[in-house]
């Protein structure tokens, strides 16, 4: 198993490196001169040249790419913002916990609500529960998070006064953003869980178990659900990466100063170092999540497990 994990970690390196090269190249070719943003619209050409020189923007592509890769991956230094001059790594350290708190909590909601909803729909196919759950799922997928967020703010902040409308502070500040952000993912998880359950409960071994008199509850939770988990896990894991990486909408609507908002502001002002740093951090978060999922797969899927169990005896045991 150690070998499997090691291999996965090794694969992590080229992925992050490729993301770094890709984002740098995209930013290099994208139109818009950061020197004009830094120096101001009324700056003379002479002042612009001075800014370009100061920021290293007048160097050739390959030199800049080399400097960027060396600073980022060898010295773990993302540099400073072109606009404010603030050290980016310090800012990322302040913002990352907020994005992760928001992302992980949102994801937990999508799983804890979405999967049971889907399972309930699957085992009650074509009944009231199924239709109700699928209607809720459709509703969730159809509602844009920013619209839902504003509706929740109107109800819970403005009318009822129960929760803060925006900003950061205690846990109460994360309740509305998490609910608004979780509806789409919850709906996806519910639909995936329903499909997976329907596929499994039609299997022969489930019919056999029922025929042998095993209770419905036991068949569902002990035999059907574990086997339906693989596709659910895939969807849910992508969902975690999605909520962490796609937090920009929720962070903007609720004024949460996380990575998403930082990235959005930087894109508007062509602050290349911030854009590159945020994308790399999000790529690392995504890669770590995928790594964890792969390891989880290895633990719950005997086929993967058997490939990496050290001894031949154990492999034989697993095959048996």
């Amino acid at each position: 198993m150690g070998k499997y994990i090691f291999k996965r970690i090794l694969m992590f390196i080229p992925v992050v490196l490729a993301v770094g090269i890709l984002i740098f190249t995209i930013m290099y070719f994208v139109p818009g001169d950061p020197a004009k943003v830094v120096a101001g619209a009324e700056a003379s050409e002479e002042q612009l040249q001075a800014v370009r020189e100061q920021l290293g923007l007048n160097q050739p592509y390959i030199v800049r790419l080399g400097n960027f890769l060396s600073d980022t991956f060898l010295h773990f230094d993302f540099g400073e913002s072109y606009i404010t001059g603030v050290k980016i790594s310090d800012e990322l350290m302040r913002r990352l916990p907020r994005t992760l708190t928001l992302g992980v909590t949102t994801w937990l909601l999508t799983v804890l609500l979405g999967v049971p909803l889907g399972v309930a729909a699957g085992v009650n196919q074509n009944k009231f529960g199924d239709r109700f759950c699928m209607f809720v799922a459709l509703f969730g997928v159809s509602m844009p998070p920013f619209w839902l967020g504003l509706m929740l703010v109107l109800l819970f902040s403005l009318k009822l006064g129960w929760l803060p409308s925006s900003g950061i502070g205690g846990p109460q500040y994360y309740i509305l953003p998490c609910i608004a952000g979780s509806f789409g993912g919850m709906a996806s998880n519910a639909r995936q869980a329903r499909s997976a359950m329907l596929e499994v409960i039609r299997s022969d071994y489930i019919v056999t178990a029922r025929a042998k008199g095993v209770s419905r509850r036991k068949v569902i939770y002990k035999h059907a659900l574990p086997n339906a988990l693989f596709p659910i896990l895939s969807t849910a894991s992508v969902g975690l990466a999605h909520v962490c990486g796609g937090s920009v909408v929720i962070e903007t609507v609720f004024g949460i100063p996380g990575i998403g908002l930082y990235l959005l502001t930087a894109v508007n002002s062509r602050d290349y170092p911030i854009i590159q740093a945020c994308v790399i951090i999000l790529a690392v978060v995504f890669a770590v999540i995928m790594l964890i999922v792969d390891i989880l797969y290895a633990f719950i899927d005997p086929k993967i497990k058997s490939k990496y169990i050290g001894t031949k005896a154990a492999r034989r045991k697993a095959d048996a």
């Binding site: 818009g32 101001g40 009324e42 404010t84 001059g85 800012e91 902040s157 925006s166 900003g167 004024g255």
Partner: protein, 550 residues
């Protein structure tokens, strides 16, 4: 049947939710439901100035920063609008300026002028909130740092030196009207000791000489200022609004989402904010929330002008009739009514007549007044049949600019000119401004306090607009205009006549047209704020505002 029941149930739930969120008259009461409820008793005292009240809550003002997170609070870096708001009560300037363009001392006691050199005398008892004394050497240190950090206002100084403990000599690098005044009044100064003690160039913990000091800064979220109990200046010598401290604490919120700002006001999370005029209706007279809020329009110096692409291959080059066709085919009042709900000034010159060096008589003259028949004649004279010409209109993305562009598109369509609207985000827009292939017409924003000749000089003096003096905004390159602008801008030749010559020539040649001069809408909670102060730059000054506890 079951499905129908489900649908009915869900529809009922949706309607109930809609009723809870969208209806009812609780909105106006909700300001008092928030954390500012304690001040509700004073609401009706309204504008009865600074009468003592029985306010027993915490003296804290929750203010919307307006322009979002400044990113850094470094007072010496190139300044942004949001940073001005955040630090102007923490750090101080040498001088402030009046609407007439005169300077008054803040850190400086007075100044003398000799040609291009200004001798500035500082107060000799200035201390910052950390107890460091400020002397002339601190001013020189700050100017050095500003130049190093690319603060463009400081680049107008050719040299500066401390000639005594409390005396600094500053020489400006040109003889244009109000160069020193415009440059110096936008710069903040701190002590060298405090700046060097900060590990990050005061990006999160500025220590200044102002009446407030930073208590906490959560980047992107809130900035909390508390009163500086050891403020150095005597009350009777405080000339600037920014030198007052009428509340114990100020909390700036960096909310940028327009809907959230309105909700913040109504829930009591904000006591003051700038809002769109369309959103301000509910806070104004007769609005649902009028009992607890006041909405006011304030003047600004900003606005947009329509510039033509005057490069060699442009259709507008050497075609004055076509330029007139466009300018006379646009109804500025329709833009003001449609986009700004009537809350903007219909301009009469490039810039505005509120500047001290603008001639007030221009207000009584015609300025490209809407005349579609004349516009059609001009189009014919320009050699174009209706529907033959298609033009690209470029502008920076914003709701205002998008709406303006659509209105202009509709008006020009009526005289037979097709317009393609091109909306770009700021970075791209600024790059394309200097690319003659990207646009035929563009919105070009300009403004700021000072003088009208400063605005003209920045945009229409090609030696200032580009380092090689090739062209000015919109690739305009007219030697006669250049001469007129230089004459009007120079201290020795500036007069009503030379200024009017530029104004008249711009109209005669139809080179550009100011579309509007912006007004802003401020909304504040009257349960807590009796009178909200804004300064000459149309920025909020919560320390100088009058509260129910004053």
């Amino acid at each position: 049947m079951t499905m129908k029941k489900v649908m009915a149930l869900l529809l009922t739930a949706t309607m109930l939710t809609g009723m809870l969120t969208g209806c009812g008259d609780k909105a106006s009461e909700s300001a008092a439901d928030g954390k500012n409820q304690e001040s509700a008793s004073s609401a009706s005292q309204g504008s009865d100035s600074a009468a003592p009240s029985s306010y027993d809550g915490e003296q804290v003002a929750y203010i919307s920063c307006g322009d979002g997170d400044p990113g850094t609070l470094d007072p010496l870096a190139a300044m942004s609008s949001s940073r001005h708001v955040c630090i102007m009560e923490v750090c101080e300037r040498l001088f402030g300026y009046t609407e007439d363009g005169d300077l008054y001392g803040v850190l400086a006691k007075d100044y003398e002028r000799d040609g291009l050199t200004y001798t500035v005398n500082l107060y000799d008892y200035i201390t910052d909130s950390a107890g460091n004394q400020m002397t002339a050497s601190d001013i020189v240190f700050c100017l050095d740092k500003m130049v190093e950090k690319g603060n463009t206002s400081a680049l107008n100084f050719e040299k500066y030196e401390a000639t005594g403990d409390y005396t600094v000599e500053i020489t400006v690098n040109n003889n244009n009207v109000a160069t020193f005044e415009n440059s110096i009044a936008g710069l903040y100064f701190v002590t060298q000791a405090a700046y060097e003690a900060s590990s990050d160039d005061m990006s999160v913990d500025p220590v200044g000489t102002g009446p407030y000091k930073v208590d906490a800064y959560e980047t992107g979220s809130t900035l909390t200022l508390v009163k500086n109990e050891n403020y150095w200046q005597k009350p009777e010598l405080c000339k600037a609004l920014e030198q007052q401290a009428n509340t114990e604490k100020i909390v700036y919120s960096m909310i940028t989402e327009a809907a959230q700002i309105v909700v913040g006001l109504e829930t009591g999370a904000l006591d003051f904010a700038f809002v769109d005029f369309s959103a301000a209706e509910r806070f104004g007279e007769g609005g649902e929330a009028a009992n607890h809020f006041c909405a006011e329009a304030i003047k600004t110096w900003g606005g947009n002008a329509l510039f033509f692409n005057m490069s060699d291959k442009s259709v507008f080059k050497d075609n004055i009739a076509l330029r007139k066709a466009v300018l006379y085919g646009i109804d500025r009042q329709a833009i003001i009514d449609g986009v700004f709900e009537g809350h903007a000034i219909n301009p009469k010159t490039y810039g505005q007549t509120r500047y001290p060096d603008a001639d007030p008589n221009w207000d009584n003259e015609d300025y490209f007044e809407y005349d579609p028949d004349y516009a059609k004649e001009c189009l014919k004279e320009a050699g174009y049949a209706p529907g033959e010409l298609s033009l690209k209109l470029m502008f920076p993305t914003s709701s205002y600019c998008n709406s303006m562009a659509e209105i202009i598109q509709a008006y020009l369509d009526m005289i037979g000119i097709k317009v393609e609207v091109l909306s770009y985000e700021n970075a791209l827009y600024n790059s394309y401004k200097t690319d003659p292939t990207q646009y035929d017409m563009m919105f070009n924003g300009s403004g700021g306090p000072g003088t009208i000749t400063r605005i003209w000089n920045n945009q229409l003096n090609k030696n200032i607009y580009t380092s090689d003096g090739a062209y000015c905004a919109g690739f305009l390159n007219d030697p006669h205009l250049q001469e007129l602008v230089e004459t009007a801008s120079n201290v020795d030749t500036n007069s009503v006549e030379t200024t009017s010559a530029v104004h008249d020539y711009l109209i005669d040649q139809a080179y550009l047209m100011q579309l509007y001069v912006e007004e802003k809408c401020v909304v504040y909670n009257t349960d807590k704020i009796v009178k909200m102060c804004t300064n000459i730059d149309a920025r909020q000054v919560p320390g100088a505002s009058i509260y129910v506890w004053n």
